[in-house]
């Protein structure tokens, strides 16, 4: 009798925590998204889809969606291309390549707050490292984080710098799974390095690329810390990414209904992406080229 209960007792703590802090919140978000509430008032009247309508007709939402999409479209291919190039240099197990892998990987486990603070300094107009370097080359001061056309690029740079090493490590794992004979065969055929890279390496690491593509898009749509520290969404909304908007609506304007509606929309979008990811990973490689 007690024996039969054992597995349930073993999984109970985990399942209870998952239930309370992950699954129930999805339902509460749905419920809150169709209500009016400001955290304080005693009632939360049902308002149907009004919050969604307000959101979809607000300039802020479309601006955030635009900014976040631009961020994703620019930063993801950049990250992947750089990472694959770096990974193919560092794929061998030698001391220099292990040292470099560690150096590239370090930022991905470092505090995003610290990185954001450090890069706020690096890109600060009057005392920053970048403008100091530009000054020695005879250029004037660039207001990196105050210029709406530059600020998003700075965030893309910082995010790429932080995440690159993770992508590199994953690509190395993917590259090491490619059978060496394929390279040897390509070399025997007199393939030139770049040619072999394009015709052999790139197609063979396609599954890894798909995986990284989807997780980095998902990540791009959830970027918050560097925005919150470096620009607070500014200047003039130029870096007001979706989770930053969610934070502002929910926790500084205390519009719970609209904040929840935004959370639900973002949730649906990211789940669809995740489902694509699990299909891709579940599938085997197609060795065609």
């Amino acid at each position: 009798m007690f024996r039969a209960l054992t597995p349930y007792l073993l999984v109970a703590p985990l399942i209870i925590f998952i239930e309370v802090f992950t699954y129930v919140p999805i339902l509460s978000s749905l419920n809150l998204s169709v209500r009016h509430w400001d955290f304080l008032s005693p009632t939360m009247p049902f308002v149907g889809l009004e919050n969604y309508e307000t959101l979809l007709s607000s300039r802020d939402f479309w601006n955030s969606l635009k900014v976040t999409t631009i961020f994703a479209v620019l930063s993801v291919p950049l990250r992947l291309a750089l990472a694959l190039a770096v990974a193919s240099y560092l794929v061998r197990e030698t001391l220099p390549s292990r040292l470099l892998r560690a150096a590239f990987f370090l930022p991905s486990v470092t505090s995003a707050v610290s990185i954001a603070v450090v890069f706020s300094w690096v890109f600060s107009t009057d005392y920053g490292m970048v403008n100091a370097a530009l000054a020695t080359l005879g250029f004037g001061k660039v207001p990196w984080l105050q210029d709406p056309s530059l600020a998003l690029w700075v965030l893309i740079f910082v995010n790429t710098w932080k995440q690159l090493g993770y992508d590199v490590v994953i690509y190395i794992a993917g590259l090491q799974a490619v059978p060496q004979e394929l390279y040897d065969a390509a070399a025997v055929d007199g393939g030139r390095k770049l040619h072999v890279f394009r015709r052999v390496t790139v197609p063979l690491v396609m599954p890894t690329t798909y995986f990284l593509l989807v997780i980095s898009v998902i990540e791009a749509f959830q970027v918050f810390t560097i925005v919150n520290i470096m620009t607070k969404g500014g200047p003039a909304g130029a870096t007001d990414m979706l989770v930053n908007l969610l934070y502002r609506v929910g926790f500084t304007l205390f519009d719970i209904g609209q904040g929840s509606a935004l959370a639900v929309l973002l949730f649906v979008f990211l789940i669809v992406l995740s489902l694509i990811k699990s299909r891709v990973i579940g599938r085997k490689v197609h060795y065609e080229a």
């Binding site: 597995p7 999984v11 703590p13 802090f21 220099p96 603070v117 450090v118 005392y127 490292m129």
Partner: protein, 269 residues
């Protein structure tokens, strides 16, 4: 082992240091006096660290980060290991469903639970407490999944031998499974610890009392309360930033291989 080409090793070091130069330079600045920083004269001091601890609350923030990340790791790895053992070794009604629900949490973006969890903790009176910081971070579906895969690779004959000797399931878990799975448990524990150490958005929402700030919140505040561009006391801020990254940095240098292995395995989930 092949002899390494010293030139390549040197080149790798230079490129690596160049890549990390913003962070390395920020650590350098944290040892400069404010005057040295603005005038460029070489003058070094520990004063910024002293001020971060005495004028600001950084000793307390450091302690809070250690307590919160430590407890999240301890609780998280314990319940994940227990569940992983059940999922790997027991056939039970609903087991597949519960395992599915655990794995599905990997796909659920955390922003969806921010507002509801805030409300739950407010109702329970747990905002501005350690419990409020810790509880929402304890369940880790990835760790449970990862450990379940690992435990499945352990020969079942070992369990059976222990049961023959009259061991209970808890004894089998503790005496047979945990010792063998130690590397995997260690990797996952490290992964949970670092993730929690660097967590920003949840502590930002869940605590408003200075005495409960983690390092991440303390650093963000310190940077922000500085009035504006140019007036920032960079040496002080960089000292606080160094305090924030140093524990993970030191840990990373010690156990880089474990960490990379854990994370690579995670990608092939």
């Amino acid at each position: 082992m092949k002899r390494e080409n010293p030139f390549m090793v040197g080149l790798a070091l230079v490129v690596g240091l160049l890549f990390l130069s913003p962070v390395l330079y920020s650590i350098w600045i944290s040892f400069e006096t404010a005057q040295a920083y603005y005038t460029g004269s070489p003058e070094f001091t520990l004063d910024n660290y002293v001020r971060a601890v005495s004028e600001y609350n950084f000793a307390r923030y450091l302690m809070n980060s250690i307590i919160v990340s430590g407890l999240v790791t301890l609780l998280g790895i314990t319940i994940a290991t227990m569940a992983a053992f059940a999922f790997a070794r027991f056939q039970f009604r609903g087991g597949d469903l519960l395992f599915g629900a655990t794995v599905a949490t990997l796909m659920i973006p955390s922003h969806i639970s921010l507002i509801p969890n805030y409300l739950t903790l407010a109702k329970a009176g747990l905002l501005d407490t350690y419990a409020g910081l810790i509880l929402p971070a304890v369940s880790n579906g990835f760790a449970a999944f990862f450990l379940r895969q690992y435990i499945r690779g352990i020969p079942k004959a070992l369990d059976e031998a222990a049961y023959m000797d009259g061991a209970t399931p808890m004894q089998v878990l503790w005496r047979v499974i945990v010792p063998i799975a130690r590397p995997a448990i260690f990797s996952m524990g490290l992964y949970i610890f670092i993730t929690e150490w660097n967590n920003y958005i949840w502590p930002l929402i869940a605590v408003g009392k200075d005495d409960l700030f983690t390092l991440q919140i303390g650093l963000a505040r310190l940077y922000r309360i500085n009035p504006g561009e140019g007036l920032v006391d960079w040496p002080l801020v960089m000292a606080a930033s160094t305090i924030t990254i140093l524990p993970v940095l030191a840990g990373f240098l010690l156990v880089e291989r474990h960490l990379v292995r854990g994370i690579t395995m995670g990608a092939i989930k």
